[in-house]
Amino acid sequence: MADKILSDKFYSTMKKLEPRYPSKLALLLPALHAAQDEFGWLSSGVMDEVAEYIGIHPAQVREVATFYSMYNFKPVGKYHIKVCTNVSCSLRGAERLLEHCEKKLGIKVAETTPDKKFTVDEEECLGACGTAPAMMINDDYHENLDVQKLDRILGELE
């Protein structure tokens, strides 16, 4: 195999998790998360290396990974904005927020700005319906949104 792409930190994190599961395959989702944490997305090379680490065929990694919406198979912007448009958020005006994001950043859902700074996605329920409308930017929740608040949050991003 070619040189490793994944870091030593990846391998030491996985090493610590190994005794926690009775099968190596169970480490697949944790490994994909850890790999995505390093690059922001899962390239072909990264998935091949995960396959080698788990000891399964690379096609099996793809078959599983593509089932899950959080894994990115192409690069995303520095800020990945995910606006919930499910029922509770929609009742509180989520579509307006999403449109505002699209207009302001000049991109459509699932696109990334040319400077690679922002990706916008439409998301299913985030579990923040009581503080709707809600969105995530990378790992953080933003709730009780309106257009002004959204503008402020986007304006503060470097």
Binding site: R20, P22, L25, L91
Partner: protein, 437 residues
């Protein structure tokens, strides 16, 4: 009691009873030190470890804790189905996938009272003889994952989790397993596949998880809120917990999640069966936003059949809801005012289920897509008169003809919206556009 009848000098809030959970929903409650001082502090686990496993299970049975994940199965009965002797290791799993639209209680339980969840798991594990536990948490809950991880470390350090817990010789280790964005992984057998490193597709049952669950071993899967109630049962007794409920066979308190068009959305914890949907909306949530008219309520997460405004005097508990043809589900109440188009709402719900169908069963995979097309057509003003009959037929074909309850979760809303609000759908078709637009 309606808004008008209430004496003004006695604000409604003052009459809210003591709660088990939400009085602790603040960041100060998070550390072990708070948990030791103000809450169970693992005293319930200590007590359980001094009892036989059957005694623990009996106490939980007496408590009538019904599963808070949606199906309402009694936790004590679930635990008793685990074989005592097993050649394979047993597993105790906490379902923290929380992805049903309208549901948002588990997130607060985990971020404010993480030790309650861990202690509940440890008690359950002892009762069934499991030494390994997993918390399957939805991938988006990154902060909550960190909080739970920190709580596990605290508990391990203090000897409440890990090897030889409190010197009793009982071992129980908890690992957090993150999901990766798939609603279906909340279904317990899909969850097990996802935990094992596979696609999150529900399994054919039987075998049930109690016999062959995670990694082929006997397994219990319980919801976060179900488990958070367990320490109270051990500390104060199953009878005490059962009596909190005002309805037979439904003990404890219940966290209602109200969202949508109410003035005060949020979490309301009340004794099980002590409140009607009307009281929740008009008393606790202060009524409809902008004092509009109520149009509809989805009472148990987006998969629950919808209620009309004249059906909300129903008691918000499992059996009363079933009796009127809906369900309490996860107790996520979505309130809709006259301002929002119900055709659009149903179209959004069905789009969700079509998107989240794992695709294994033809009636579910094809039915949800077909229903979505029909609804988009009607919403866009391109519907035909026959479409309503057609969509009911499609829904009927999905109902109870698939491997898991996701198909029913899509069929229930379709059937209830179209039959209860038929005029709204017909107006779209006749007028060739949305009357709300």
């Amino acid at each position: 009691m309606s808004e008008q009848e209430r004496p003004p000098e006695q604000p409604f809030e003052d009459s809210q009873p003591e709660t088990l959970f939400i009085q602790h929903f603040c960041e100060e409650a998070r550390p072990l030190s708070y948990y030791l001082k103000n809450m169970s502090g693992y005293s319930a686990l200590k007590k359980a470890l001094g009892m036989s496993s059957d005694e623990v299970i009996n106490e939980v049975k007496k408590a009538h804790i019904r599963g808070r994940g949606g199906a309402g199965f009694p936790a004590g009965v679930k635990w008793s189905l685990i074989p005592k002797e097993s050649a394979k290791a047993k597993y105790f799993i906490c379902n923290a996938d929380e992805s049903e639209p309208g549901t948002f209680k588990d997130r607060d339980l985990m971020r404010y009272t993480p030790h309650l969840v861990l202690e509940g798991m440890a008690i359950g594990a002892y009762a069934i003889g499991a030494h390994t536990g997993y918390i399957y948490i939805r991938g988006e809950y990154v902060r909550e994952t960190g909080i739970l991880q920190a709580a596990i470390l605290e508990a391990e350090k203090a000897g409440y989790l890990g090897k030889n817990i409190m010197g009793t010789g009982f071992d129980f280790e908890i690992t957090i397993h993150r999901g990766a964005g798939a609603y279906i992984c909340g279904e317990e057998t899909a969850l097990l596949n996802s935990l094992e490193g596979r696609r999150g597709e529900p399994r054919v049952k039987p075998p049930y998880p109690a016999i062959a669950g995670a990694f082929g071993g006997p397994t219990v899967v319980n919801n976060v809120e179900t488990l958070a109630g367990v320490p109270f049962v051990l500390n104060r007794g199953g009878d005490w917990y059962a009596k909190l409920g005002r309805i037979t066979n439904s003990g404890g308190t219940r966290i209602y999640e109200v969202s949508g068009h109410v003035k005060k959305p949020g979490l309301y914890e009340l004794d099980s069966g002590s409140v009607t949907v009307r009281q929740l909306i008009y008393d606790y949530c202060h009524g409809i936003l902008d004092d509009k008219k109520l149009k509809a309520v989805i009472p148990g997460g987006s998969s629950a059949p919808v209620l009309r405004a004249d059906e909300i005097d129903v008691v918000a508990d499992i059996d009363p809801m079933l009796k009127i043809g809906s369900m309490l589900g996860s107790a996520g109440m979505i309130v809709v005012s006259e301002d929002y188009c119900l055709v659009r709402l149903l179209a959004r719900i069905v789009r969700f289920y079509a998107h989240e169908s794992c695709g294994q069963c033809t009636p579910c995979r094809e039915g949800t897509k077909w229903a979505q097309d029909i609804l988009d057509r009607i919403e866009g003003g391109r519907g035909h008169q026959q479409d309503l009959g057609l969509i009911l037929q499609v829904a009927d074909n999905m109902n109870a003809k698939s491997l898991c309850a996701l198909a029913d979760a899509a069929a229930g809303p379709i059937i209830s919206f179209v039959t209860k609000f038929r005029a709204d759908f017909e107006a779209h078709i006749r007028g060739g556009k949305c009357p709300h637009a």
